[in-house]
């Protein structure tokens, strides 16, 4: 029975690890990767929510309408989510690269232009 909640627990687990990575990161590139990990937790959650026991993929190319399929909506949401991830990652990475070009470091401890 506890197994039935394992996917949600794993989503939370991945989420917290992502947060941990971001908080303790010593390198902005590493931090950006941790953000990506953090996002995968949302995939796990959505996937588990939309799953139906014995359901097949919601593609009626060779199965009749009415067969048990998993929920297509969460998959649509995940597709959007993945594009968002790609976009945000590209932007964050180029910020990091530019910061390295201008400041010569990607260690958040040394990037202290905004304090007080």
């Amino acid at each position: 029975m506890i197994l039935a909640y394992l996917p949600y627990a794993i989503a939370a687990w991945v989420f917290l690890w992502g947060l941990y990575g971001i908080v303790t990161s010593k390198n902005l590139v590493h931090q950006v990767v941790c953000v990506a990990i953090l996002q995968t937790s949302t995939y796990v959650l959505l996937l588990a929510i939309g799953y139906k026991v014995g359901g097949t993929a919601p593609i009626f190319a060779d199965i009749p309408v009415g067969t048990v399929v998993v929920d297509p909506l969460v998959q649509a949401l995940m597709l959007t989510d993945i594009v968002v991830e790609a976009a945000v990652m590209a932007l964050l990475l180029s910020m990091v690269v530019k910061a390295n070009e201008l400041a010569g470091t990607v260690d958040p401890e040394e990037l202290r232009f905004l304090t007080g």
Binding site: G50, D71, S94
Partner: protein
């Protein structure tokens, strides 16, 4: 905060978060019993209403196409942002002038080069296939676009730096990106001219299972493919421009 206090501080709050999550998760339905109406209704009606077999794409490109419009522009905006961040300063422009007369610098075995070029063809075909069959099989404009975008990269790996430069710096790339993005919004607006609501299907639906079925879904999927492919090529260009210049310069 010093890094140790920060970690300790975070771990304390993480403990709280664990508790909160645990309480919430207990009330979720167990894995595999999805109840909600949305999925059940849409899987019943989508095939008849939209003449498509891939319900996920029916949702992405029609029922909730407006979300996808926003999503495409998220990607578009981030590409714009990257271009803005890496906009060339004056001296980089000078380098740009110089780079034209440089030679290919990557020694690479001909067999590899040939096979790579064959691969480029395969990837383009595959990308177009994925993008055009979205309404029937898994895939669609987005996935196809990404595959298409990685074709020029293989050209680069196969050593034709010049060809690669020619591809990624041609205005067609940007035209594909912007045209794709604008096209999506335009398709939506076109429906208004027919007195329908935004993003309503105005193209004949065709017969389910055909390549040219499902009306706007196919069209939108195509423009999305254009935008994504162009966008990723632009992203790569921004990372690779300098690298290529420097590599060629070092090779002299």
């Amino acid at each position: 905060m010093s890094s140790r206090t920060r970690t300790a501080f975070f771990l304390c709050s993480a403990a709280g978060l664990v508790f909160v999550f645990a309480c919430g998760i207990r009330d979720l339905p167990p894995l595999g019993d999805y109840r909600g109406p949305y999925g059940n209704v849409v899987t019943q009606v989508a095939v008849y209403e939209r003449h498509t077999t891939d319900v996920v794409n029916a949702i992405n490109y029609d029922y909730r196409a407006f979300d996808t419009l926003g999503e495409e522009f998220i990607f578009f905006a981030s590409v714009l942002g990257v271009l803005l961040l890496f906009r060339p300063t004056q001296e980089e422009d000078k380098n740009g002038k110089r780079e034209s007369k440089l030679e290919d610098a990557l020694p690479i075995s001909d067999t590899l080069r040939v096979s790579m070029q064959a691969m480029v063809g395969i990837m383009i075909v595959f990308g177009v296939y994925i993008a055009s069959h979205g309404q029937l099989t898994p895939g669609g404009g987005f996935q196809g676009g990404v595959i298409l975008a990685s074709a020029p990269l293989v050209v680069y790996l196969s050593g034709n730096v010049k060809t690669f430069e020619a591809i990624i710096s041609s205005p067609l790339v940007k035209l594909a990106e912007c045209g794709g993005a604008a096209g999506y919004a335009a398709i939506g607006t076109a429906a208004l001219l027919f007195g329908a609501h935004f993003l309503t299907n105005i193209v004949p639906l065709g017969t389910t299972g055909d390549l040219f079925s499902s009306g706007t879904i196919a069209v939108i999927s195509a423009v999305v493919g254009m935008e994504i492919a162009g966008g990723f090529v632009l992203l790569m260009q921004n990372y690779l421009r300098e690298i290529i210049e420097e590599r060629l310069r070092e090779s002299q």
